[in-house]
């Protein structure tokens, strides 16, 4: 039986009288890659921020792994307790910390012993191909390298869910394809649930198990990649 990891039930959210999310219901199953596809301003980032717990839904509720985490304008479980990793659109790498420091931060918060911490950082950097760059600052890395550090930082705490907000939008096509492949590979090996947001059709179809089409804050379509492609062809 597929276990629901993320459940949005009739969630709505508006900003300054503008409706960002309109009565949205979504179920995301464990260990799947779900891509939310939509134009700029359709509410994709808002959904991620609702799930992460940075904002609360005005109506409706959100459950993670069966536990209600937000409902009716209240955040019941704060972001730091939701066991979520996130790759932000602007990556949000801390410029004053090295690659090592960016990865170590969350582990230190969780009071992971030093030996264990160093082992996990080493393994993660090896996984993303950045072992030799541990002492560099983010400003000393290329775009693709920064991307991988952001990914590593999101993964290092072994979260159940990873949220990605258009992480590859600023990269050239070649790098975009390589990193997409890497993301898929990591998800299959590590088994986390991925919720990925993009406006790029190719990106969506190459990553997703399930595609969700969002338009003006509403779910217009949710289905497999095959179904999504048929829908696009018809349109």
């Amino acid at each position: 039986m597929d276990i629901k990891v993320i459940e949005l039930n009739s969630v709505s959210k508006s900003y300054n009288n503008h409706i960002a999310i309109d009565n949205c219901s979504l179920n995301i199953v464990q260990e799947k890659r779900v891509v939310i596809l939509g134009a700029s301003g359709c509410g994709k980032t808002t959904i991620l921020r609702l799930i992460a717990g940075f904002i609360a839904p005005e109506t409706g509720s959100i459950r993670l792994n069966g536990q209600q985490v937000s409902a009716n304008n209240k955040i019941l479980v704060p972001p730091e307790k939701r066991n979520i990793g996130m790759v932000f659109q602007n990556l949000a790498l801390w410029p004053h910390l090295s690659v090592h420091g960016n990865l170590a931060f969350g582990l230190k918060v969780q009071a992971v012993p030093e030996k264990e911490r160093e082992k996990r950082i080493y393994n993660m950097l090896k996984l993303v191909g950045l072992s030799r760059l541990a002492q560099r600052k983010p400003s000393e890395l290329s775009g693709g390298q920064q991307q991988r550090v952001a990914l590593a930082r999101a993964l290092i705490l072994n979260p159940d869910i990873i949220l990605m907000d258009e992480p590859l939008s600023s990269l050239d096509e070649d790098l975009n394809i390589r990193l997409r492949t890497k993301i898929v590979e990591l998800q299959e090996n590590l088994g986390f649930t991925l919720l990925y947001v993009t406006h790029n059709l190719q990106e969506a179809f190459s990553i997703a198990h399930t595609v969700v089409l969002l338009k003006h804050g509403r779910v217009e379509f949710q289905g497999s990649v095959k179904q999504a492609k048929r829908l696009w062809q018809r349109q």
């Binding site: 992460a52 940075f54 704060p78 972001p79 730091e80 307790k81 939701r82 979520i84 990793g85 996130m86 932000f88 659109q89 602007n90 949000a92 801390w94 410029p95 004053h96 931060f105 969350g106 918060v109 969780q110 930082r153 999101a154 705490l157």
Partner: protein, 528 residues
């Protein structure tokens, strides 16, 4: 939860430090012998002298506001937007008066143009008699406060010019010369900023105490001080303070409803390209000379007058002997105050920038109101609240001076923090939050390191303003805890002009000390 508790405590602290004294002052002014009484206000309103004082205060404030704006804004454009040579030098020199208590500038003009001034042998007794008459009164006060507050519109104009999207001006330049572009595009876009700086100068002049007192021009803050310190008439002192509080409040309403949204943050325009520069051709020589003359008369001449007047090393020895302990106290109090102001400013700035509490706007407005409120009013409020047997440990200690500085200057450090925090993407903190960090941890390990530059600027600014403060300190300092600006002020009555000048130079050096220390690593850094 942690965040909410800390920010609520921060807001509570600002209310306790700033608003409660003002409320206490107002209440005590209307309660006489346990009964409600408006006698003090009745006396105030029916006194012809009080209306004359109000007229003097408003006249002085209006004149200084107009002069500083009319000259300061073009100067800001000249230094911020043209290729005039030595721009940075002129800007630094013109900003120096902001570092000093305004009455020091009054002292230097007196040393230059007064009866025993440096120009006496050159200009003769008759001429000096006229300049002396002119100096001690409205014209002299206007000149001194113009010099003291000119940096405000200059610096704010430069800052607001940087918020204009370069494309706007470039689009206009395709059709018009720079003169027309400035008039039709740039100035209208930064007009809210110009009006804000004008309002700020008006309020600071209106509440200025030291200069009118020294130059014997009777204004409201001076009267308030005299009623309290000479006659111990607390009710009269409070009543005299009320018009100042009311005018400040009205000005704040204007700022809130007409200007606030447009001037809230000074953020550089999103486009990373440099702002378009006006290339001066034939006019660069006369404009450079004009800028040079301004720097000469506003800063160089006053400072050099003090240096020349105090040229004898023996005078400095005498000055240190007379005021050494107050110098040490000044630096200590200013250092402690700057640290507290930086912390309080960061928390307040965070509250305002993130709008973490519903009362963020109220707290923002309150800090600005307290900054604009004359120091004498804040002083009277502090005395009114803390002069009880229960709180004597505050009232009779330097704590009361620190409370005064926190009340008055939190607005500055909080605005610096707001601007610094606005440059940090919210996702920096959010990334730490999803990694499990508590709010305190996020502040210590993410926000504070990323705000380092702003915090240093806030500390230095807090230090300068605390060190130069006279009006609050004069009102509240406990016996034996006077600061150097207060000691100079009291010595002006019977100290020699040479010793006063030397103490002023010592104060200037004490002000520049941390700036020098912080700049040292940058100066010593070898070019790569």
């Amino acid at each position: 939860m942690q965040k909410r508790i800390v920010l609520i405590l921060t807001a509570g602290l600002i209310v306790a430090i700033g608003l409660l004294p003002v409320i206490s002052m107002v209440l005590k002014s209307v309660i006489m012998d346990g009964h409600f009484s408006l006698e003090a206000y009745h006396g105030l309103m029916s006194s012809k002298r009080q209306w004359i004082l109000l007229k003097h205060s408003l006249t002085l404030a209006t004149l200084v506001m107009i002069l500083t704006t009319v000259i300061g804004v073009p100067t800001g454009i000249l230094l911020g937007k043209t290729n005039i040579p030595l721009r940075k030098f002129f800007l630094i020199v013109l900003t120096v008066p902001l570092l000093l208590p305004p009455y020091i500038i009054a002292v230097s003009y007196s040393d230059l143009l007064g009866q025993e001034g440096l120009l006496m042998p050159l200009l003769g007794e008759v001429f000096i008699h006229h300049t002396s008459q002119w100096l001690f009164g409205l014209p002299g006060c206007t000149l001194v406060l113009f010099s003291a507050f000119l940096p405000i519109p200059v610096v704010l104009t430069i800052a607001f010019l940087r918020t204009v999207n370069p494309h706007m001006e470039e689009a206009a330049r395709l059709a018009a010369s720079w003169g027309k572009v400035l008039k039709g595009i740039t100035l209208p876009m930064i007009m809210p900023g110009i009006l804000f700086s004008a309002l700020l100068v008006f309020l600071l002049t209106f509440g200025e105490f030291g200069v009118p007192n020294f130059l014997r021009y009777d204004v409201f803050p001076v009267e308030s001080f005299i009623q309290f310190s000479a006659f111990y008439n607390f009710q009269a002192a409070t009543a005299t303070s009320m018009p100042m509080a009311v005018i400040t409040f009205l000005a704040l309403l204007i700022e809130t409803y007409l200007l606030r949204k447009q001037t809230c943050q000074i953020q550089t325009a999103q486009d990373n390209r440099q702002i378009p520069v006006i290339y001066l051709q034939r006019s660069h020589i006369p404009l450079t000379i004009a800028a040079g003359l301004m720097a000469l008369f506003i800063t160089i001449v006053p400072v050099f007058t003090l240096i020349i007047k105090s040229a004898d090393p023996a005078i400095y020895a005498q000055a240190i002997n007379k005021a050494g302990n107050s110098l040490l106290r000044s630096i200590t109090y200013a250092g402690i105050s700057a640290t507290l102001l930086t912390v309080l400013g960061l928390l307040t700035g965070y509250l305002i920038q993130t709008r973490a509490l519903k009362i963020w706007r109220t707290i923002d407005s309150l800090t600005i109101f307290l900054f604009a409120l004359p120091g004498t009013v804040i002083g009277i409020g502090l005395i009114s609240l803390w002069n009880t047997s229960w709180t004597n440990f505050i009232y009779a200690s330097p704590l009361i001076i620190l409370l005064g500085y926190l009340a008055k200057y939190t607005a500055i450090t909080s605005r610096i923090s707001v601007n610094q925090l606005a440059k940090i993407s919210p996702s920096m903190e959010e990334a730490a939050q999803v990694a499990g960090a508590t709010w305190l941890r996020r502040m210590i390990f993410i926000i504070i390191p990323l705000s380092r530059q702003g915090l240093i600027v806030a500390w230095l600014t807090g230090y300068v303003f605390s060190l130069r403060d006279t009006s609050i300190t004069m009102m509240v300092y406990p016996a034996g805890h006077d600061t150097l600006p207060v000691r100079i002020f009291t010595l002006m009555a019977n100290g020699s002009p040479e010793m006063i000048a030397s103490l002023c130079i010592i104060l200037v050096l004490a002000t520049l000390l941390p700036l020098g220390i912080i700049s040292l690593p940058a100066l010593l850094k070898r070019p790569e």
